[in-house]
């Protein structure tokens, strides 16, 4: 039984290395009034504020919002990468987060070595790692490129490898960023079949996307994020129309 509970989550980004004034200005503009100070008077960007929701097995949540609304930060927080400054997040069940194409791959290592590392990270046995290798190599159509450093791959091969690797192991909770919807048409149709498999296997899906179509297609519930806060939470159609109204008004 998988479960996600987010309780009054807040995440701040400290700006330690933004020492140059121009960078600071850029961030000011981008953060649009979301700069604050923490207890030690350091400048922080308030990336998420008071996020609360809970998901049970069978829930398919879509996150919508403009660039910089906090969608990816929320996914990273649910994945346990960023720890909140206030609130609490509990995830019951194994978790896989598909956040970026590189997915922590080392470009200097060969495809095979990257697959090995992912297998070890997930605690797979030697035999399971061999299976993982075969599965990923077959899907990504890498051929002999499997023995070459990943930095020699074309961008298409890279996406295929990252995608194959990320979808080769079934988690109970799947967190997915929108890049998974990108890609050339031929790959996309092939990828969709595989992704559907994983999504169907997962008990909980959290998908962040710009594309309303993806959310409508995959999700049963939607949360609209704006400036790090929840603007609306409910059925996909309702949240989506509220979001679209706002977009048109603006």
């Amino acid at each position: 039984m998988a479960r996600i509970v987010a309780d009054c989550l807040s995440v701040d980004f400290p700006l330690y290395h933004g020492s140059s004034r121009s960078l600071k200005k850029t961030v000011f503009a981008a953060a649009a009034g979301r700069l604050g100070e923490d207890g030690n008077h350091r400048t922080v960007v308030q990336a998420l504020r008071d996020i609360s929701f809970s998901l049970r097995s069978g829930d398919r949540l879509g996150l919508i919002g403009t660039n910089g609304a906090g969608k990816t930060t929320l996914l990273r927080t649910l994945a346990g990468i960023y720890e909140p400054v206030a609130g609490r997040v509990t995830v019951d069940g194994s978790l896989n987060a598909l956040l970026d194409t590189q997915l922590g791959m080392n470009p200097e290592l060969t495809g095979r070595e990257n697959i090995l590392l992912r297998g070890l990270y997930n605690g797979l046995t030697r035999v399971q790692i061999r299976q993982l290798e075969e599965d990923v190599a077959a899907f990504a159509e890498l051929g002999e490129f499997l023995e070459l450093p990943v930095r020699f791959y074309s961008s298409g091969m890279l996406v295929r490898l990252g995608f194959a690797l990320a979808t080769a192991i079934n988690p109970q909770v799947l967190l997915m960023d929108e890049w998974f919807m990108a890609g050339d048409a031929r790959f996309l149709s092939k990828a969709m079949a595989r992704l559907e498999n994983v999504v169907r296997g997962a008990e909980i899906l959290v998908l962040s996307s710009h594309q309303n179509q993806a959310i409508t297609q995959w999700c049963t519930r939607a949360i609209w994020l704006d400036h790090g806060r929840i603007m609306a939470d409910g059925k996909v159609a309702e949240v989506m129309s509220a979001y679209m109204d706002r977009a048109e008004a603006a």
């Binding site: 990468i81 720890e83 400054v85």
Partner: protein
Amino acid sequence: MDQSPDRAIPLLPSARMDISADMSATHRLRQAVADVVDGAVLWRLGLTLGWLDVKLRYRGSILGPFWLTISTAVWIASVGALYSVLFHQKISPYMPFLALSLVLWTAMSGLVGDACNTFLQSEATIRSMRMPYFVHAVRVVVRTVIGLAHNVPVVLVVFALFHKWPGVGALWCLPAFALWTVDAVAACIALGTLCARFRDIPPIVGSIMQIAFFITPIMWQPEQLGPHGWWLKLNPFNALLDVVRVPLLGAPVSLHTWMAALLYSGVFCLMTSLLFVRVRGRLAFWM
């Protein structure tokens, strides 16, 4: 290539993650301990990462890491020949001392330098998946141990040339190496964290290690200081070197030396633990 829907997909074992912004000491301590335990469970990953780092560094080179062996050998031969004359040392006791000291120091100072990048070099990984920070520390230590292993033959050859045989007492170096390993992991965590937060630290560390190289008995022997050597006790590098070096040179290590090494290590590990418990949750934001 068609994917049958019922392909054998390994299912990840169920897990539970509970992260809260609870700032209490017990909560932070529990999270830090969990990091170390989870990292230790993933030892195969740490080992492989370290091994791949070495492989990568020498990919495409014919001799590979044996370049380390060669450059150490050349270094020891030339420095040994020069300094035995400069210091009016008999070459036969001096050379084994110098070879062993230089090899041990290379590993120690190499680790300290490498430790600064423990977390910064894994930035991409840290930002894309939750992985115990302990794994990154293990990775750096493994890398250093492999480097040290490639220099061992040089020491063996020098010992054979000068008929130096330390005897069974040399086994005392084993607990000393165990202590080194613990300190090395702590150094990676401490320096890795500090350097992620304050980018000025690596050059400071570099110059400290350079000074340490000259004030620690590596090129010169402690006996040469005579009665002026009392301040050597204040040098933690000296105590740590001696617990490994003295038994390998065939002499018994004094209880005093061991106490000093344990005391310095204990204080260092304690301080590192406090630091790690305090900042672990913020580390990802510093990348």
